[in-house]
Symmetry: C2
DNA sequence: GTATTGACTTGGAATCTGTCCATCGTAGGA
DNA sequence: TCCTACGATGGACAGATTCCAAGTCAATAC
């Protein structure tokens, strides 16, 4: 992600302090923050950043393909910066922790033509559910 | 689903007109209604039913494992009554139409132990995305 | 059949997410 | 350095869901 800012600048993105901070907050592995969490972390570095700007910037990063939007299991969507490397997600039913995972094979291949209802199917997202070591312990 | 009411009664569910109507509304194949749509259809049969009751009843059906909750691609969650028969979903990126599908094999098997991070993984949900025949036609 | 009681329902307020908009500020080119 | 178009701001707004206090009723016991 360190070169994300370079890439964005190369695409004609106007660089501002706010956008830089949002991009920095999303840097790392197994990061799956809600917009509100992004706002909280960004505010710690740039207190005057506004909620609208966080939403705008996240929306732009998503449509640029740099960030993946995950349908929230609870209410809020989560934002995953590893959009350039295809992966799926493993979610703890107890505490909600999320890990990026890489299953074998292509899940798309498992859907027979007879089950496609004439759709042109282009992608498959897999969500695995279970209990993390901590929540499974009691 | 016709025996859903029997099963619920057997589990000690207190049967009320409201709960019966909500359960009836969810009867069928390829049913994926939002809470608001459930309310609208339930109101047609029982005009005085309240929104809160619909949410309460849907929440109970979900925690009883009778109904599956689908994270809404747009805003509102959708409720799928076929929870007793495992299946996955095919969603049209154009119009949002949803079909129940049954891929070959068990997607759980595709996740190697090394990718499970110590979780006890118990389920996998697959969402296929593509364009339905109507939306694919230019 | 009637009384009883605790679970269920109600409707409106509150909350949580996310979007919109008019105005102000500023990055980056001239 | 100056301009200007694009970005940021914050407050209003909207949609979805949850909360709550008060009223209602299904199921059980008598």
């Amino acid at each position: 992600m360190s070169n994300l800012l370079e890439r964005l600048r190369g695409r004609g993105w106007r660089m501002t302090a706010q956008r830089r901070v949002v991009a920095e907050v999303l840097d790392g592995e197994h990061i799956h923050l809600t917009a509100d969490e992004v706002l909280a972390r960004a505010s710690a570095r740039l207190p005057e950043i506004s909620r609208a700007t966080v939403y705008n910037t996240l929306g732009e990063l998503v449509s640029l393909g740099e960030v993946m939007e995950l349908p929230g299991d609870g209410r809020a969507k989560r934002y995953d910066p590893n959009a350039h490397r295809p992966h799926h997600h493993l979610v703890c039913s107890g505490c909600g922790a999320i890990r990026d995972v890489h299953p074998d094979g292509d899940p798309l291949a498992a859907l027979p033509a007879a089950e496609r209802f004439g759709f042109s199917v282009s992608a498959a997202e897999v969500t695995y559910r279970g209990l993390c070591p901590v929540c499974a312990a009691p």
